[in-house]
Symmetry: C2
Subunit: 220 residues, 2 copies
DNA sequence: TCGTATTTCGAATAATATTCGAAAAATGTG
DNA sequence: CACATTTTTCGAATATTATTCGAAATACGA
Protein backbone atom coordinates (compact mmCIF):
# COMPACT_ATOMS: atom_id res chain seq x y z
CA UNK A 1 0.00 0.00 0.00
CA UNK A 2 1.04 3.57 -0.56
CA UNK A 3 -0.65 4.73 2.55
CA UNK A 4 -0.25 8.40 3.19
CA UNK A 5 0.23 8.13 6.90
CA UNK A 6 3.56 6.47 6.28
CA UNK A 7 4.79 9.33 4.18
CA UNK A 8 5.12 11.64 7.12
CA UNK A 9 8.12 9.55 8.06
CA UNK A 10 9.97 10.79 4.99
CA UNK A 11 10.39 14.50 5.15
CA UNK A 12 10.74 14.90 1.40
CA UNK A 13 7.52 13.18 0.59
CA UNK A 14 5.55 14.83 3.24
CA UNK A 15 5.87 18.13 1.49
CA UNK A 16 4.88 16.68 -1.84
CA UNK A 17 1.67 15.29 -0.45
CA UNK A 18 0.90 18.41 1.50
CA UNK A 19 1.37 20.62 -1.56
CA UNK A 20 -1.13 18.50 -3.38
CA UNK A 21 1.18 17.10 -6.00
CA UNK A 22 0.84 13.52 -7.11
CA UNK A 23 2.35 10.80 -5.00
CA UNK A 24 5.58 9.31 -6.10
CA UNK A 25 4.27 6.31 -7.94
CA UNK A 26 7.41 4.50 -8.92
CA UNK A 27 5.98 2.02 -11.31
CA UNK A 28 4.44 2.94 -14.63
CA UNK A 29 1.65 0.45 -14.13
CA UNK A 30 0.46 2.29 -11.08
CA UNK A 31 0.58 5.69 -12.75
CA UNK A 32 -1.64 4.28 -15.47
CA UNK A 33 -4.02 3.02 -12.88
CA UNK A 34 -4.25 6.46 -11.35
CA UNK A 35 -5.13 7.87 -14.76
CA UNK A 36 -7.82 5.25 -15.20
CA UNK A 37 -9.45 6.30 -11.96
CA UNK A 38 -9.16 9.99 -12.75
CA UNK A 39 -10.68 9.53 -16.16
CA UNK A 40 -13.56 7.48 -14.82
CA UNK A 41 -14.16 10.12 -12.16
CA UNK A 42 -14.17 13.00 -14.65
CA UNK A 43 -16.69 11.19 -16.79
CA UNK A 44 -19.02 10.22 -13.95
CA UNK A 45 -18.79 13.55 -12.13
CA UNK A 46 -19.65 15.26 -15.38
CA UNK A 47 -22.65 13.04 -15.92
CA UNK A 48 -24.17 12.79 -12.48
CA UNK A 49 -22.42 15.45 -10.45
CA UNK A 50 -20.01 14.93 -7.62
CA UNK A 51 -22.53 14.20 -4.91
CA UNK A 52 -24.42 11.88 -7.18
CA UNK A 53 -21.39 9.75 -7.88
CA UNK A 54 -20.23 7.21 -5.34
CA UNK A 55 -16.67 5.97 -5.20
CA UNK A 56 -18.06 2.51 -5.69
CA UNK A 57 -19.24 3.59 -9.13
CA UNK A 58 -15.96 5.26 -9.93
CA UNK A 59 -14.14 2.08 -8.99
CA UNK A 60 -16.47 0.00 -11.12
CA UNK A 61 -16.00 2.15 -14.23
CA UNK A 62 -12.25 2.37 -13.68
CA UNK A 63 -12.22 -1.41 -13.21
CA UNK A 64 -10.31 -1.31 -9.95
CA UNK A 65 -11.35 -2.38 -6.47
CA UNK A 66 -12.92 0.33 -4.39
CA UNK A 67 -10.14 0.53 -1.87
CA UNK A 68 -7.54 1.08 -4.55
CA UNK A 69 -8.82 4.59 -5.03
CA UNK A 70 -7.35 5.40 -1.64
CA UNK A 71 -3.97 4.19 -2.84
CA UNK A 72 -3.88 7.14 -5.25
CA UNK A 73 -6.03 9.82 -3.69
CA UNK A 74 -6.21 10.90 -0.12
CA UNK A 75 -10.00 10.99 -0.12
CA UNK A 76 -12.93 11.84 -2.34
CA UNK A 77 -12.28 15.56 -2.05
CA UNK A 78 -8.74 15.10 -3.33
CA UNK A 79 -10.00 13.10 -6.28
CA UNK A 80 -12.48 15.83 -7.11
CA UNK A 81 -9.84 18.50 -7.00
CA UNK A 82 -7.51 16.60 -9.28
CA UNK A 83 -10.02 16.75 -12.10
CA UNK A 84 -9.52 20.46 -12.91
CA UNK A 85 -5.77 20.35 -12.42
CA UNK A 86 -5.05 18.57 -15.69
CA UNK A 87 -7.65 20.56 -17.58
CA UNK A 88 -6.26 23.87 -16.47
CA UNK A 89 -2.88 22.76 -17.70
CA UNK A 90 -4.37 21.87 -21.06
CA UNK A 91 -6.21 25.17 -21.24
CA UNK A 92 -3.01 27.10 -20.62
CA UNK A 93 -1.28 25.07 -23.27
CA UNK A 94 -3.93 26.05 -25.78
CA UNK A 95 -3.97 29.70 -24.85
CA UNK A 96 -0.28 30.45 -24.54
CA UNK A 97 0.76 30.16 -28.20
CA UNK A 98 -2.08 32.43 -29.25
CA UNK A 99 -1.05 35.18 -26.91
CA UNK A 100 2.51 36.21 -27.71
CA UNK A 101 1.77 37.55 -31.16
CA UNK A 102 -0.02 40.72 -30.22
CA UNK A 103 0.96 43.14 -27.51
CA UNK A 104 -2.46 44.77 -27.27
CA UNK A 105 -3.88 43.92 -23.84
CA UNK A 106 -7.48 44.13 -24.99
CA UNK A 107 -6.80 41.70 -27.80
CA UNK A 108 -5.10 39.31 -25.36
CA UNK A 109 -8.02 39.59 -23.00
CA UNK A 110 -10.30 38.69 -25.86
CA UNK A 111 -8.20 35.68 -26.78
CA UNK A 112 -8.02 34.30 -23.26
CA UNK A 113 -11.73 34.79 -22.78
CA UNK A 114 -12.73 33.14 -26.02
CA UNK A 115 -10.22 30.31 -25.87
CA UNK A 116 -11.78 29.41 -22.58
CA UNK A 117 -15.21 29.20 -24.13
CA UNK A 118 -13.83 27.08 -26.92
CA UNK A 119 -12.25 24.75 -24.40
CA UNK A 120 -15.50 24.39 -22.50
CA UNK A 121 -17.28 23.63 -25.74
CA UNK A 122 -14.75 20.89 -26.50
CA UNK A 123 -14.84 19.48 -22.97
CA UNK A 124 -18.36 20.00 -21.66
CA UNK A 125 -17.91 17.30 -19.07
CA UNK A 126 -15.11 19.27 -17.49
CA UNK A 127 -17.18 22.41 -17.84
CA UNK A 128 -19.96 20.95 -15.82
CA UNK A 129 -17.77 19.70 -13.03
CA UNK A 130 -15.72 22.84 -12.89
CA UNK A 131 -18.27 25.60 -13.32
CA UNK A 132 -21.13 24.04 -11.47
CA UNK A 133 -19.45 22.15 -8.72
CA UNK A 134 -15.84 23.00 -8.14
CA UNK A 135 -15.85 26.71 -8.90
CA UNK A 136 -18.32 27.59 -6.14
CA UNK A 137 -16.50 25.45 -3.64
CA UNK A 138 -13.25 27.07 -4.65
CA UNK A 139 -14.67 30.47 -4.01
CA UNK A 140 -16.00 29.16 -0.75
CA UNK A 141 -12.86 27.70 0.65
CA UNK A 142 -10.64 25.20 -1.13
CA UNK A 143 -7.18 26.73 -0.86
CA UNK A 144 -5.56 24.30 -3.25
CA UNK A 145 -7.55 24.92 -6.39
CA UNK A 146 -8.05 28.48 -5.28
CA UNK A 147 -4.42 29.14 -6.09
CA UNK A 148 -4.87 27.94 -9.66
CA UNK A 149 -7.99 30.00 -10.08
CA UNK A 150 -6.43 33.08 -8.51
CA UNK A 151 -3.56 32.81 -10.93
CA UNK A 152 -6.02 32.64 -13.76
CA UNK A 153 -8.09 35.54 -12.48
CA UNK A 154 -5.00 37.61 -11.87
CA UNK A 155 -4.16 37.40 -15.53
CA UNK A 156 -7.42 39.13 -16.34
CA UNK A 157 -6.82 41.80 -13.74
CA UNK A 158 -3.36 42.54 -15.07
CA UNK A 159 -4.48 42.80 -18.66
CA UNK A 160 -7.33 45.08 -17.67
CA UNK A 161 -4.92 47.28 -15.76
CA UNK A 162 -2.69 47.46 -18.80
CA UNK A 163 -5.61 48.46 -20.96
CA UNK A 164 -6.45 51.21 -18.51
CA UNK A 165 -2.90 52.47 -18.58
CA UNK A 166 -2.91 52.37 -22.35
CA UNK A 167 -5.99 54.59 -22.29
CA UNK A 168 -8.24 52.08 -23.99
CA UNK A 169 -10.28 51.41 -20.90
CA UNK A 170 -11.52 54.27 -18.82
CA UNK A 171 -9.48 55.52 -15.88
CA UNK A 172 -12.14 54.93 -13.24
CA UNK A 173 -12.80 51.30 -14.16
CA UNK A 174 -12.17 49.01 -11.18
CA UNK A 175 -10.11 46.11 -12.57
CA UNK A 176 -11.49 43.70 -9.98
CA UNK A 177 -15.07 44.58 -10.77
CA UNK A 178 -14.28 44.15 -14.43
CA UNK A 179 -12.75 40.77 -13.74
CA UNK A 180 -15.80 39.78 -11.68
CA UNK A 181 -17.95 40.60 -14.65
CA UNK A 182 -15.91 38.51 -17.02
CA UNK A 183 -15.62 35.51 -14.74
CA UNK A 184 -19.16 35.73 -13.46
CA UNK A 185 -20.59 36.19 -16.91
CA UNK A 186 -18.63 33.29 -18.29
CA UNK A 187 -19.69 31.11 -15.41
CA UNK A 188 -23.35 31.93 -15.79
CA UNK A 189 -23.39 31.66 -19.56
CA UNK A 190 -21.66 28.30 -19.45
CA UNK A 191 -23.89 26.94 -16.75
CA UNK A 192 -27.02 27.85 -18.66
CA UNK A 193 -25.57 26.45 -21.86
CA UNK A 194 -24.89 23.14 -20.15
CA UNK A 195 -28.29 23.14 -18.51
CA UNK A 196 -30.25 23.63 -21.69
CA UNK A 197 -28.48 20.92 -23.60
CA UNK A 198 -25.96 23.06 -25.50
CA UNK A 199 -28.51 24.30 -27.97
CA UNK A 200 -26.63 27.41 -29.07
CA UNK A 201 -23.08 28.23 -30.04
CA UNK A 202 -21.24 28.94 -26.84
CA UNK A 203 -18.28 30.63 -28.47
CA UNK A 204 -20.51 32.98 -30.42
CA UNK A 205 -22.35 33.95 -27.25
CA UNK A 206 -18.98 34.40 -25.63
CA UNK A 207 -18.02 36.88 -28.32
CA UNK A 208 -21.18 38.86 -27.75
CA UNK A 209 -20.47 38.82 -24.05
CA UNK A 210 -17.01 40.15 -24.59
CA UNK A 211 -18.16 42.90 -26.89
CA UNK A 212 -20.83 44.06 -24.50
CA UNK A 213 -18.39 44.14 -21.62
CA UNK A 214 -15.79 45.85 -23.73
CA UNK A 215 -18.28 48.57 -24.55
CA UNK A 216 -18.82 49.09 -20.85
CA UNK A 217 -15.11 49.27 -20.19
CA UNK A 218 -13.89 51.65 -22.87
CA UNK A 219 -13.11 55.30 -22.60
CA UNK A 220 -15.90 57.41 -23.98
CA UNK B 1 -45.76 10.47 12.25
CA UNK B 2 -46.51 12.54 9.19
CA UNK B 3 -44.85 10.09 6.90
CA UNK B 4 -44.93 11.16 3.30
CA UNK B 5 -45.62 7.74 1.90
CA UNK B 6 -49.06 7.89 3.45
CA UNK B 7 -49.89 11.10 1.71
CA UNK B 8 -50.21 9.47 -1.65
CA UNK B 9 -53.44 8.03 -0.33
CA UNK B 10 -54.98 11.48 -0.17
CA UNK B 11 -55.06 12.98 -3.61
CA UNK B 12 -55.19 16.53 -2.31
CA UNK B 13 -52.06 16.22 -0.28
CA UNK B 14 -50.11 14.36 -2.81
CA UNK B 15 -50.08 17.39 -5.03
CA UNK B 16 -49.02 19.68 -2.27
CA UNK B 17 -46.01 17.61 -1.47
CA UNK B 18 -45.10 17.17 -5.10
CA UNK B 19 -45.27 20.87 -5.77
CA UNK B 20 -42.89 21.43 -2.94
CA UNK B 21 -45.23 23.33 -0.67
CA UNK B 22 -45.15 22.77 3.04
CA UNK B 23 -46.95 19.82 4.54
CA UNK B 24 -50.24 20.43 6.20
CA UNK B 25 -49.07 20.68 9.77
CA UNK B 26 -52.28 21.09 11.65
CA UNK B 27 -50.93 22.01 15.02
CA UNK B 28 -49.14 25.26 15.71
CA UNK B 29 -46.58 23.46 17.85
CA UNK B 30 -45.44 21.39 14.93
CA UNK B 31 -45.20 24.39 12.61
CA UNK B 32 -42.93 26.01 15.18
CA UNK B 33 -40.81 22.92 15.27
CA UNK B 34 -40.40 23.04 11.55
CA UNK B 35 -39.20 26.64 11.80
CA UNK B 36 -36.72 25.65 14.47
CA UNK B 37 -35.20 23.05 12.21
CA UNK B 38 -35.14 25.39 9.23
CA UNK B 39 -33.48 28.12 11.20
CA UNK B 40 -30.85 25.76 12.59
CA UNK B 41 -30.18 24.46 9.09
CA UNK B 42 -29.81 27.93 7.59
CA UNK B 43 -27.32 28.85 10.27
CA UNK B 44 -25.25 25.68 10.02
CA UNK B 45 -25.30 25.50 6.22
CA UNK B 46 -24.13 29.08 6.15
CA UNK B 47 -21.28 28.35 8.52
CA UNK B 48 -19.97 25.02 7.31
CA UNK B 49 -21.60 24.49 3.96
CA UNK B 50 -24.22 21.94 3.06
CA UNK B 51 -21.95 18.96 2.68
CA UNK B 52 -20.11 19.83 5.85
CA UNK B 53 -23.27 19.81 7.90
CA UNK B 54 -24.80 16.55 9.01
CA UNK B 55 -28.44 16.21 9.89
CA UNK B 56 -27.31 15.02 13.28
CA UNK B 57 -25.85 18.47 13.87
CA UNK B 58 -28.93 20.21 12.56
CA UNK B 59 -31.05 18.14 14.92
CA UNK B 60 -28.78 18.96 17.83
CA UNK B 61 -28.89 22.71 17.23
CA UNK B 62 -32.63 22.64 16.64
CA UNK B 63 -32.99 20.58 19.79
CA UNK B 64 -35.10 17.89 18.19
CA UNK B 65 -34.36 14.21 17.69
CA UNK B 66 -32.68 13.38 14.41
CA UNK B 67 -35.58 11.44 13.01
CA UNK B 68 -37.97 14.34 13.56
CA UNK B 69 -36.37 16.16 10.68
CA UNK B 70 -37.97 13.59 8.41
CA UNK B 71 -41.34 14.45 9.85
CA UNK B 72 -41.06 17.89 8.25
CA UNK B 73 -38.79 17.46 5.26
CA UNK B 74 -38.72 14.70 2.75
CA UNK B 75 -34.95 14.40 2.86
CA UNK B 76 -31.84 16.50 3.21
CA UNK B 77 -32.18 17.90 -0.30
CA UNK B 78 -35.67 19.16 0.51
CA UNK B 79 -34.43 20.82 3.66
CA UNK B 80 -31.68 22.53 1.68
CA UNK B 81 -34.11 23.81 -0.91
CA UNK B 82 -36.45 25.21 1.69
CA UNK B 83 -33.81 27.60 2.90
CA UNK B 84 -33.96 29.94 -0.11
CA UNK B 85 -37.73 29.75 -0.43
CA UNK B 86 -38.40 32.00 2.53
CA UNK B 87 -35.59 34.34 1.68
CA UNK B 88 -36.76 34.85 -1.87
CA UNK B 89 -40.14 35.76 -0.53
CA UNK B 90 -38.57 38.30 1.79
CA UNK B 91 -36.46 39.70 -1.01
CA UNK B 92 -39.52 40.20 -3.20
CA UNK B 93 -41.27 41.88 -0.33
CA UNK B 94 -38.44 44.35 0.02
CA UNK B 95 -38.13 45.05 -3.68
CA UNK B 96 -41.76 45.38 -4.68
CA UNK B 97 -42.65 48.64 -2.91
CA UNK B 98 -39.56 50.32 -4.35
CA UNK B 99 -40.50 49.45 -7.91
CA UNK B 100 -43.90 50.88 -8.70
CA UNK B 101 -42.92 54.51 -8.39
CA UNK B 102 -40.89 54.90 -11.53
CA UNK B 103 -41.79 53.59 -14.93
CA UNK B 104 -38.27 53.77 -16.31
CA UNK B 105 -37.12 50.20 -16.95
CA UNK B 106 -33.45 51.04 -16.43
CA UNK B 107 -34.20 52.58 -13.07
CA UNK B 108 -36.21 49.51 -12.07
CA UNK B 109 -33.40 47.24 -13.18
CA UNK B 110 -31.06 49.24 -11.01
CA UNK B 111 -33.35 48.98 -8.00
CA UNK B 112 -33.81 45.23 -8.30
CA UNK B 113 -30.12 44.70 -8.75
CA UNK B 114 -29.08 46.83 -5.81
CA UNK B 115 -31.81 45.70 -3.46
CA UNK B 116 -30.51 42.24 -3.99
CA UNK B 117 -27.02 43.26 -2.94
CA UNK B 118 -28.44 44.99 0.10
CA UNK B 119 -30.32 41.87 1.03
CA UNK B 120 -27.20 39.74 0.72
CA UNK B 121 -25.34 42.19 2.89
CA UNK B 122 -28.02 41.91 5.54
CA UNK B 123 -28.23 38.13 5.31
CA UNK B 124 -24.76 36.87 4.47
CA UNK B 125 -25.54 33.43 5.78
CA UNK B 126 -28.24 33.07 3.20
CA UNK B 127 -25.91 34.55 0.62
CA UNK B 128 -23.35 31.88 1.22
CA UNK B 129 -25.78 29.01 1.03
CA UNK B 130 -27.58 30.39 -1.97
CA UNK B 131 -24.80 31.75 -4.14
CA UNK B 132 -22.15 29.19 -3.38
CA UNK B 133 -24.13 26.04 -2.99
CA UNK B 134 -27.68 26.18 -4.18
CA UNK B 135 -27.33 28.45 -7.20
CA UNK B 136 -24.95 26.15 -9.06
CA UNK B 137 -27.05 23.12 -8.30
CA UNK B 138 -30.11 25.00 -9.47
CA UNK B 139 -28.48 25.75 -12.75
CA UNK B 140 -27.42 22.14 -12.93
CA UNK B 141 -30.71 20.50 -12.33
CA UNK B 142 -33.04 21.25 -9.45
CA UNK B 143 -36.35 21.93 -11.16
CA UNK B 144 -38.05 23.18 -8.04
CA UNK B 145 -35.87 26.14 -7.16
CA UNK B 146 -35.12 26.61 -10.82
CA UNK B 147 -38.65 27.88 -11.26
CA UNK B 148 -38.13 30.55 -8.62
CA UNK B 149 -34.84 31.59 -10.14
CA UNK B 150 -36.21 31.60 -13.66
CA UNK B 151 -39.00 33.87 -12.53
CA UNK B 152 -36.43 36.17 -11.02
CA UNK B 153 -34.20 36.09 -14.10
CA UNK B 154 -37.15 36.65 -16.38
CA UNK B 155 -37.82 39.93 -14.66
CA UNK B 156 -34.39 41.11 -15.69
CA UNK B 157 -34.90 39.97 -19.24
CA UNK B 158 -38.22 41.77 -19.52
CA UNK B 159 -36.90 45.03 -18.15
CA UNK B 160 -33.92 44.86 -20.48
CA UNK B 161 -36.23 44.28 -23.41
CA UNK B 162 -38.30 47.28 -22.38
CA UNK B 163 -35.18 49.41 -22.19
CA UNK B 164 -34.26 48.32 -25.69
CA UNK B 165 -37.70 49.21 -26.98
CA UNK B 166 -37.47 52.57 -25.25
CA UNK B 167 -34.25 53.20 -27.10
CA UNK B 168 -32.10 53.47 -23.98
CA UNK B 169 -30.31 50.21 -24.62
CA UNK B 170 -28.94 49.49 -28.05
CA UNK B 171 -31.02 47.57 -30.55
CA UNK B 172 -28.55 44.68 -30.99
CA UNK B 173 -28.16 43.91 -27.30
CA UNK B 174 -29.10 40.32 -26.55
CA UNK B 175 -31.32 40.50 -23.45
CA UNK B 176 -30.28 37.03 -22.33
CA UNK B 177 -26.61 37.80 -22.58
CA UNK B 178 -27.24 40.99 -20.66
CA UNK B 179 -29.07 39.05 -18.00
CA UNK B 180 -26.23 36.52 -17.84
CA UNK B 181 -23.86 39.36 -17.17
CA UNK B 182 -25.95 40.77 -14.37
CA UNK B 183 -26.62 37.48 -12.67
CA UNK B 184 -23.15 36.12 -13.22
CA UNK B 185 -21.48 39.29 -12.08
CA UNK B 186 -23.61 39.47 -8.97
CA UNK B 187 -22.91 35.86 -8.19
CA UNK B 188 -19.17 36.24 -8.57
CA UNK B 189 -18.93 39.52 -6.71
CA UNK B 190 -20.94 38.14 -3.81
CA UNK B 191 -18.96 34.95 -3.63
CA UNK B 192 -15.67 36.79 -3.49
CA UNK B 193 -17.05 39.20 -0.92
CA UNK B 194 -18.09 36.31 1.30
CA UNK B 195 -14.79 34.55 0.76
CA UNK B 196 -12.62 37.45 1.79
CA UNK B 197 -14.51 38.16 4.97
CA UNK B 198 -16.74 40.97 3.71
CA UNK B 199 -13.98 43.53 3.81
CA UNK B 200 -15.52 45.99 1.39
CA UNK B 201 -18.96 47.52 0.88
CA UNK B 202 -20.91 45.07 -1.22
CA UNK B 203 -23.62 47.51 -2.19
CA UNK B 204 -21.12 50.09 -3.35
CA UNK B 205 -19.37 47.50 -5.49
CA UNK B 206 -22.77 46.50 -6.77
CA UNK B 207 -23.40 50.05 -7.89
CA UNK B 208 -20.11 50.13 -9.76
CA UNK B 209 -21.02 46.84 -11.36
CA UNK B 210 -24.33 48.18 -12.50
CA UNK B 211 -22.84 51.34 -13.93
CA UNK B 212 -20.21 49.45 -15.86
CA UNK B 213 -22.78 47.10 -17.31
CA UNK B 214 -25.14 49.94 -18.07
CA UNK B 215 -22.37 51.64 -20.04
CA UNK B 216 -21.99 48.49 -22.08
CA UNK B 217 -25.71 48.26 -22.73
CA UNK B 218 -26.58 51.81 -23.78
CA UNK B 219 -27.09 53.19 -27.22
CA UNK B 220 -24.07 55.14 -28.42
C1' DT C 1 -63.96 11.24 29.18
C1' DC C 2 -63.15 8.58 25.44
C1' DG C 3 -61.83 7.65 20.60
C1' DT C 4 -59.41 9.32 16.78
C1' DA C 5 -56.20 12.13 14.45
C1' DT C 6 -51.76 13.96 14.78
C1' DT C 7 -47.19 14.28 16.28
C1' DT C 8 -42.91 12.58 18.40
C1' DC C 9 -38.91 9.76 18.83
C1' DG C 10 -35.89 5.56 19.76
C1' DA C 11 -34.19 1.93 17.44
C1' DA C 12 -33.26 -0.33 13.19
C1' DT C 13 -31.46 -0.37 8.19
C1' DA C 14 -28.80 1.27 4.20
C1' DA C 15 -25.49 3.50 1.67
C1' DT C 16 -21.14 5.27 1.47
C1' DA C 17 -16.60 6.87 2.79
C1' DT C 18 -12.54 5.37 4.89
C1' DT C 19 -8.98 2.22 7.17
C1' DC C 20 -6.11 -1.62 7.76
C1' DG C 21 -3.01 -5.28 7.04
C1' DA C 22 -1.94 -9.39 4.81
C1' DA C 23 -0.98 -11.15 0.10
C1' DA C 24 0.84 -10.37 -4.53
C1' DA C 25 3.81 -8.31 -7.79
C1' DA C 26 7.86 -5.85 -9.13
C1' DT C 27 12.55 -4.58 -8.43
C1' DG C 28 17.27 -4.61 -7.22
C1' DT C 29 21.39 -7.29 -5.89
C1' DG C 30 24.62 -11.09 -4.94
C1' DC D 1 18.73 -16.99 -11.22
C1' DA D 2 17.41 -16.98 -6.11
C1' DC D 3 16.01 -14.12 -2.60
C1' DA D 4 15.45 -9.92 0.20
C1' DT D 5 13.27 -5.63 -0.09
C1' DT D 6 10.31 -2.28 -1.88
C1' DT D 7 6.11 -1.22 -3.94
C1' DT D 8 1.52 -2.14 -5.14
C1' DT D 9 -2.99 -4.40 -4.77
C1' DC D 10 -7.26 -5.67 -2.67
C1' DG D 11 -10.63 -8.09 0.52
C1' DA D 12 -12.55 -7.46 4.67
C1' DA D 13 -13.46 -4.54 8.44
C1' DT D 14 -15.08 0.07 10.62
C1' DA D 15 -17.34 4.67 10.80
C1' DT D 16 -20.37 8.06 9.54
C1' DT D 17 -24.51 9.65 7.89
C1' DA D 18 -28.89 9.47 5.60
C1' DT D 19 -33.16 7.26 5.82
C1' DT D 20 -37.09 4.18 7.52
C1' DC D 21 -40.29 2.24 10.58
C1' DG D 22 -43.63 1.58 14.05
C1' DA D 23 -44.88 1.95 18.68
C1' DA D 24 -45.69 5.47 22.24
C1' DA D 25 -47.17 10.08 23.44
C1' DT D 26 -49.84 14.01 22.79
C1' DA D 27 -53.54 17.02 21.19
C1' DC D 28 -58.28 17.40 19.73
C1' DG D 29 -63.22 16.94 18.85
C1' DA D 30 -67.53 14.91 20.32
Amino acid sequence: MIHFRYLTVFAGWEKEVASGTTLKLKQQRSRDRREQILSAATKLFGQRGIDGTSLTEVAAVAKVPLSSIYDYFEDKRALVLDVPEGNFEALYQKTEPLLVKSGDPVEQLRIIFLTNFQYIKDNPSWGRVFFLEIWPSVLAAEPRVKKAVDKYALRYVQLIKQAIRAGTYRRNLDPYTAMSLMMGGMCHLTAVWLLYGRKYDLVKKGKTLFTTLHNGFVQR
